[in-house]
């Protein structure tokens, strides 16, 4: 569906610039580690559960290790050294001892270090094997139940805050036609420096991402997949301070998609940029391995910046997300690059502008399953108007061949979605896809008309911005408020204390395994 006559030289140039802008960040990420990356290794090795206060054992263990030997060497060496030294028979016991102060960690050297490395690698490999198993399991289930018949896939959100209310709602949504269920997280989870444990019922405007919640929902949706003869995918969020651990848990529990954006945490959670880029690279390596599709978060920019003025920042971010993703091993089919229908609906020709932007994205990333996000910012309490806007959003989705359609809710400005909102929203999608889904066949914008010109303009502005970023450095650009109008300097933000520059002794078996198998 090549409907815009984009100049291939400009497109190539844009990609080259994105690579240039991203490379220094990748190098930075390679030079650093974070507490969450290291805790993710412990999770891969099988450490789970929490103490009586709900603090996960991985945190207990990690905190002690860090206190004893620092973060810069990674945790694998001191932890497996302790196990080899016989401090405990397994990680669980070790963590308990660490919590009670009855074990001290050291950085092993020489042969000890070598043995610790081997043991750690073996333990991490077991986790990766489980992830591999999960991936094969998914492939089997998809073969058995089948993929959705239509594109775009229908993506629906549940957000009751209570996993036991979420489950029936998710199953109801699947029955009504959802291909993907996303369980929204409680506000505040992204700022927690630990992953809560167990089944939870007390989230605010979302449900905590926990391993047990993942498991419960995946099991429920497996049931739905069987019932419906169609594999229903599950999505959650690999973002916030624990992004690498959550990515790992997602791999272990066969989640199918994860929200994972290279800049979201920086911009919208004020998480330190370096922390974010390090965490993000690791989580993407895990996602790549787990066969998980990532969803990037460009839609968010348009909730704080203007969707017309800032259209090119979306394109730039998509190009950066693509570069970072591929560098981490993700393939095209795993790139659910985000964009959104957020132009002020009162603007003349707003629908045609939306079409132009959506077509541009579609054509720049022909192999990626783009994620098309509904209007949120200009939704109001007028739910009738909202329902209409969502219909025209769906129409753009259908006309531009989007891969994933996040279904808009008429109550967007009012409440987290009610069960009936989802049902009505799906009916809206069904009508539009059924009645007008093939309209793209009849739709060919004038080669030099409004839509083509607008697309070219946005692409041109993207190239200009990328050139600036290459000159200034991406971190400075973020510090200047280039994206979503949020200014985030590299030396501020949450979680900076959890970042360390790797030492010469640094060892991380997970990264080693993830990188060598590619």
């Amino acid at each position: 569906m090549k409907k815009l006559d984009l100049d291939p030289v400009t497109v190539r140039k844009a990609r080259t610039l994105a690579r240039k802008a991203g490379r220094p960040i990748v190098n930075l990420a390679r030079r650093h580690t974070t507490v969450s990356v290291e805790r993710a290794v412990l999770r891969l090795a099988g450490l789970a559960g929490a103490d009586s206060e709900g603090i996960p054992w991985v945190n207990r263990l990690a905190d002690t290790v860090r206190a004893d030997v620092g973060l810069e060497h990674g945790f694998a060496l001191p932890v497996w050294d302790a196990l080899l030294r016989g401090e405990a028979e397994d990680l669980g016991v070790l963590a308990q001892k660490a919590a009670s102060g009855s074990v001290t960690f050291r950085l092993p050297e020489g042969r000890d270090a070598q043995r610790a490395r081997t043991a750690a690698r073996k333990a991490a490999a077991a986790g990766i094997k489980r992830i591999d198993g999960r991936r094969r399991e998914r492939e089997r289930l998809i073969k058995r139940h089948g993929d959705p018949e239509q594109r775009p896939w229908i993506y629906l959100i549940v957000a009751t805050g209570d996993i036991y209310e979420d489950i029936p709602q998710a199953q109801a949504a699947a029955r009504e036609g959802a291909d993907i269920i996303a369980v929204i997280r409680s506000t505040g989870q992204s700022l927690l420096d630990y992953v809560p444990e167990g089944a939870t019922r007390e989230g605010f405007a979302g449900t905590y991402a926990t391993q047990e919640n993942f498991r419960l929902m995946r099991a429920a949706l497996d049931e739905s997949s069987r019932e419906l003869g169609r594999y229903v995918r599950l999505t959650n969020y690999a973002s916030g301070l624990c992004m690498p651990e959550i990515a790992t848990l997602a791999g272990l529990e066969r989640l199918d998609m994860m929200l994972n954006d290279s800049m979201y945490g920086i911009l919208f959670r004020d998480i330190n940029p370096i922390r974010t880029f390090v965490d993000q690279r690791f989580s993407r390596q895990i996602h790549a391995r787990a066969g998980i599709i990532i969803n990037t978060g460009e839609d968010n920019y348009l909730t704080t910046a203007d969707a017309v003025e800032a259209a090119h920042t979306v394109t730039v971010s998509q190009l950066l997300n693509e570069y970072f993703a591929k560098e981490a091993g993700l393939e095209d089919w795993q790139l659910g690059l985000g964009h959104a229908f957020e132009i002020n609906p009162d603007l003349p020709d707003s629908f045609r502008l939306e079409l132009a932007h959506a077509m541009l994205a579609r054509q720049l990333f022909p192999e990626a399953p783009l994620k098309w996000m509904p209007p949120t910012r200009h939704m109001t309490g007028d739910v009738f108007r909202g329902y209409l806007l969502d219909g025209f959003f769906n129409l753009v989705g259908a006309m531009t061949g989007q891969g994933i359609l996040l279904v808009g809710m008429m109550t967007e400005a009012v409440v987290t979605p009610w069960i009936s909102d989802r049902d009505l929203a799906l009916q809206n999608v069904r009508y539009v896809l059924g009645a007008a889904g093939n309209l793209h066949e009849d739709f060919r914008p004038e080669p030099n008309g409004f839509i083509a010109q607008r697309a070219r303009q946005v692409l041109g502005e993207s190239v200009e911005l990328l050139e600036q970023i290459v000159d200034d450095g991406l971190l400075n650009a973020i510090g200047d408020g280039t994206f979503g109008l949020m200014k985030r300097p590299q030396d501020a933000g949450r979680g900076l204390e959890g970042v360390a520059r790797k030492s010469g002794e640094y060892y991380n078996p997970a990264i080693e395994l993830l990188e060598e198998d590619r």
């Binding site: 109001t380 409440v415 009610w418």
Partner: protein, 250 residues
């Protein structure tokens, strides 16, 4: 459990959406008036999530919130289907067996109402929702008088046809047109016939509820989404199966 509440997002949250217009200009007081109305309806807190002036004299509101009423499903009044659903074959058989003549059904859209699609859906052979209409039943003689039939004309034709049942449709409901017309019809039939010879009176239309039969003076009411099979089954039950013993003893 027979006590339930509306369900927005979690069990028992009681959430309801509403919209309405108040005939006052939009200002703080108008929003307060909207809240007052919602409160009186049992919604508390009432969230006015949208208020739009419509010209200088009216304001439109969208309000969300929990209502404090409980719904007791054990106290719900429904007109239960007190007759078995029959296939056309079974219906024909029952008529042939018990009545030994065809059953005559006269239908019309009465008053000034010209909406015939509904009654045609019931009566015409084409039918509705995949079910054939009454004309398809061999043992039914179906006379469809069409639209805008005056009540006296309907009574006249009913007598001429020796109707066993009268089916009237009413779709226009503004100013209670459907209720007025149907009452006029049932009164006319009660006047024109002795009660035990009166044809069965059936009223139908999308805004009738089954509970209204008494008020309307008819034997049965059918609402939104009625299918021909239901009507045929009811008629057979009312005129053949159930009346049978009575007629025999008479």
């Amino acid at each position: 459990m027979s006590i339930i509440r509306p369900y927005g997002d979690t069990t028992g949250d009681g959430m309801v959406q509403m919209s309405f217009t108040l005939p006052i200009p939009h200002d703080k007081r108008a929003e307060g008036a909207a809240v007052q109305l919602a409160n009186k309806m049992g919604m508390d807190p009432a969230l006015v999530v949208h208020a739009k002036p419509m010209g200088p004299d009216f304001t439109f509101f969208v309000v969300y919130g929990p209502v404090n009423h409980l719904v007791d499903t054990s106290k719900v009044e429904v007109v239960e289907r007190d007759y078995p659903l029959l296939s056309p074959k079974e219906a024909n058989l029952a008529i042939r067996k018990h009545l030994r003549r065809r059953l005559t059904v006269v239908g019309a859209c009465i008053g000034t109402d010209a909406h015939t699609v509904g009654i045609d859906a019931i009566m015409n052979i084409k039918g509705f929702a995949g079910e054939k209409g009454l004309e398809y039943y061999r043992e039914l003689k179906v006379v469809n008088l069409g639209a805008q039939v005056a009540v006296p004309e309907l009574v006249r034709r009913a007598k001429a046809e020796k109707a066993d049942a009268i089916l009237v449709s009413q779709v226009v409901t503004q100013r209670e047109a459907h209720v007025l017309n149907t009452k006029e019809m049932s009164a006319a039939f009660r006047e024109a016939y002795a009660e035990d010879h009166r044809p069965v009176l059936v009223a139908g239309g999308p805004r009738f509820t089954e509970q209204m039969a008494g008020e309307l003076g008819v034997d049965r009411v059918f609402g939104r989404g009625t299918t021909p099979g239901e009507v045929a089954s009811y008629l057979v039950n009312a005129l053949v199966t159930r009346r049978q013993p009575v007629r025999r003893s008479a």
